[in-house]
Amino acid sequence: MNKVVSAADEAIKDVFDGAIVMLGGFGLCGIPENCITALVKKGVKKLTCISNNAGVDDFGIGLMLKQRQVKKMISSYVGENAEFERQLLSGELEVELIPQGTLATRCMAAGYGMPAVFTPAGVGTEVAIGKEVRQFNGKEYLLEHAFDADFAIVKAWKGDTDGNLIYKETARNFNPLMAMAGKITIAEVEQLVPVGELDPNNIHTPGIYVHRIFQGSNYQKRIEQLTVRKAK
């Protein structure tokens, strides 16, 4: 079940204007750098992007914002960049802010074939406006619907040619959840290995969820907040 494609351009070739696209990563950690570059190059427009964050001015989804490729962002935390703010305030960009756990769970729900889930996040706040509230065991929950994305674009550490994926450390974040949730799931990996090389006990995303995989290149892996202790 070989899922290998040559590179990012080929992997994202059918992402169409107006598509709903999930993009993995938390901040700039674990983002599909190669695919974002390819999407910028392709110039596809009017995208709805589901991603926890929106990148920074000159990296990540920020690059797509700069090209005005994004019609709507669905995120939990945005605005680490000036262009984003400008487009938002001018009305060029639509933003839907949702709690981070709700975002994660709506991805998982899609991957698990659950049409909707209940979460207490946002009860009594403006997030609850227009949503069904339901009590279980004396506590209130909001009904939140599974996402329905055309494409999920994720970044993994290792992957095999069958599409099995393993993530590294906190670069895992939303990636395995989105990988399950796309109608078409595209994975870029730091290390593409032959089938059989990954321990089947340690697979985070089974290949059944992945439609295309390729060996990424030139990862920058930018650090947003470098915090260190002085020498030992």
Binding site: P99, A104, E169, N173, L226, A231
Partner: protein, 218 residues
């Protein structure tokens, strides 16, 4: 004297119990990790997918794949585990995290909290705050008692858009420690040199003062 941010963190650290799993928010809460009392063993959860967060890495040892929810480079301690964001918020929602410490712009006497949005200003989003406050069984807020204009941030009702309702259990401000009870803010301790009168004057919400209010010791 009002507490410094470090002292607020230090005072909150005294609330930690051995065996606690703890989620520390961005800002003052993060500093709590520096004051964990000796003999108290806690595990720090970072909602981007880590249990067992360690201190910042030594210079040159930073790993871009290893960050906390504030996007800072971090390390892990032995026994750590990585997981995805759904499991991370799942364990928070299921009450497995014993304590959440986070900042606030306003807290109401009923325990409502507002900390994510100021209308008219650029809104960056709630991140994981709404999940945390809606789910954690024990929430301590680290905050300044008053805003820069001198107005109380402990109110009868929040004026800013809410992050969560009736969820805050305790507040450690720069001048006091208070429990949030069914009847209002209950004053527990005052900062060194701060009088009960001053706390009274700076608390807009209902304040309960019973008996002698001890001074915090550092």
């Amino acid at each position: 004297m009002s507490l410094t941010k470090e002292q607020i963190a230090q005072r909150i650290a005294r609330e930690l119990k051995n065996g606690y799993y703890v989620n520390l928010g961005i800002g003052i809460p993060t500093l709590v990790a520096n004051y964990i009392p000796s003999g108290i063993n806690v595990v720090l959860q970072s909602e981007n997918g880590l249990l067992g967060m360690g201190p910042f890495p030594f210079e040159g040892e930073e790993d871009p794949d290893l960050i906390n929810a504030g996007k800072q480079t971090i390390t892990t301690v032995p026994g750590s585990a990585f997981f995805d964001s759904a499991m991370s918020f799942g364990m928070i929602r299921a009450g497995k995290v014993d304590l959440t410490v986070l900042g606030a712009m306003e807290v109401s006497e009923e325990g409502d909290i507002a900390n994510w949005k100021i209308p008219g200003k650029m809104v960056k989003g709630m991140g994981g705050a709404m999940d945390l406050v809606a789910s954690a069984k024990n929430i301590i807020v680290a905050m300044m008692h008053s805003n820069p204009k001198g107005e109380s941030k402990l109110l009868a009702k929040c004026t800013l858009p809410l992050t969560g309702v009736k969820c805050v259990k305790k507040i450690v401000s720069d001048i006091a420690v208070l429990d949030v009870t069914a009847d209002g803010f209950r004053l527990l301790e005052r900062a060194p040199g701060i009088t009960v009168e001053e706390i009274k004057s700076k608390t807009a919400g209902k304040l309960i003062i019973e008996g002698e209010i001890p001074e915090m010791q550092f």
